[in-house]
């Protein structure tokens, strides 16, 4: 299981990256993260919403209520301009960390 702190730190970049593909809603975001991580990234479902609201409050994303094809009301989120900038910054930082770790790991096998 991935450490709680790492899961929390990765939430914002993951949400931003998922929303960069198109608007989505909380339940779908959780299911997609779960599927892409083979169930290893476990979020407590309800905890996603305070994070989404905080990101909206910071102007990274926006939301709208709409009806799904089944008639259920859903709150859809989409990326704003500041969100795209934040996502690029996250990608840069996570790539840097990944690059350093990968380099160190490679050295261990040399």
């Amino acid at each position: 299981m991935i450490r709680k702190e790492l899961v929390a730190a990765s939430a914002e970049p993951l949400i931003l990256s998922l929303l960069a593909k198109g608007e989505s809603y909380g339940y779908a975001i959780i299911q997609e993260v779960k599927a892409r991580s083979d169930g290893k990234l476990q979020w407590t479902d309800g905890m996603l919403y305070p994070v989404l609201h905080r990101m909206e409050h910071r102007g990274l994303i926006k939301s709208r209520w709409a009806e799904s094809e089944t008639g259920r009301k859903r709150k859809y989120y989409s990326l704003k301009k500041d969100g795209k900038t934040a996502m690029a910054r996250h990608h840069e930082q996570w790539s840097l960390v990944h690059g350093v770790l990968a380099g160190l790991q490679k050295e261990q096998y040399v």
Partner: protein, 214 residues
């Protein structure tokens, strides 16, 4: 007989008691709860078994409330932006008032020059401190030192102006124009120093978010 609608209504009441605001967060959580119940039922469960699983996945109301409560305030970037607007308005009003006063009191060309120089110095210093101080602050790693420098910056502006008005000014016999120019120069540290104080003292970050309750 299990009634899912009644169970959802009871769950909403529990969430309200726990302090989850209505309508937006609670409606959104309910929408999520219904999606999860539906998914569980598609995998072969009945409503009675699916409901408690979905409720557990959503998480406890008190934990959610704690997380939602963190959304109330502004983060550091927003506070800086708001303070920047506030500070710009103060300096703008002050510059306007000074310009009007300089016209009103018929300053000599030299006094005008000195007055404009004082005002330009004030605005230039305020701009420089606002933009450069955040990177300078990284040099002060001790929080105690940061607080000390911040407090000194904050009160020294007021102390300086008090010294100027009560001890320095009475020693000179200024004309109106000279008095005005002297005050303009005295106002430079009075208005610039509190900026440093804000930048140094505003180090409270928002609490980090949590996305797992385990």
């Amino acid at each position: 007989m299990f009634d899912v609608e009644q169970s959802i209504a009871d769950w909403r009441k529990q969430m309200l008691v726990a302090g989850i605001q209505t309508p937006v967060p609670l409606d959104e959580l309910e929408s999520h709860l219904r999606e999860e119940i539906e998914r569980q039922m598609k995998s072969g469960m009945n409503e009675q078994k699916a409901f408690p699983i979905a409720v557990e996945r959503i998480g406890a109301g008190n934990l959610l409330k704690t997380e939602f409560k963190k959304n109330g305030g502004m983060d550091k970037a927003q506070r800086r932006k708001a303070a920047g607007y506030f500070y710009s308005v103060i300096l703008g009003c002050y510059t306007l008032a000074v310009t009007c006063a300089m016209f009103k009191y018929n300053l000599s060309p030299n006094e005008w020059l000195s007055g404009v120089a004082a005002q330009t110095t004030l605005l230039g210093l305020a701009y420089l401190i606002w933009h450069l101080a955040p990177s300078w602050l990284l040099l002060i790693t001790s929080r105690r030192t940061q607080s000390a420098v911040g407090l000194i910056g904050g009160i020294s502006g007021a102390i300086w102006f008090s010294i100027f008005a009560n001890l320095i000014l009475p020693r000179f016999d200024f004309t109106t124009g000279q008095l005005m120019v002297a005050i303009l120069w005295a106002m430079v540290p009075t208005l610039v120093l509190p900026t440093t104080a804000f930048l140094l003292l505003d180090k409270s970050e928002n609490q980090p978010s949590v996305i797992t309750s385990s």
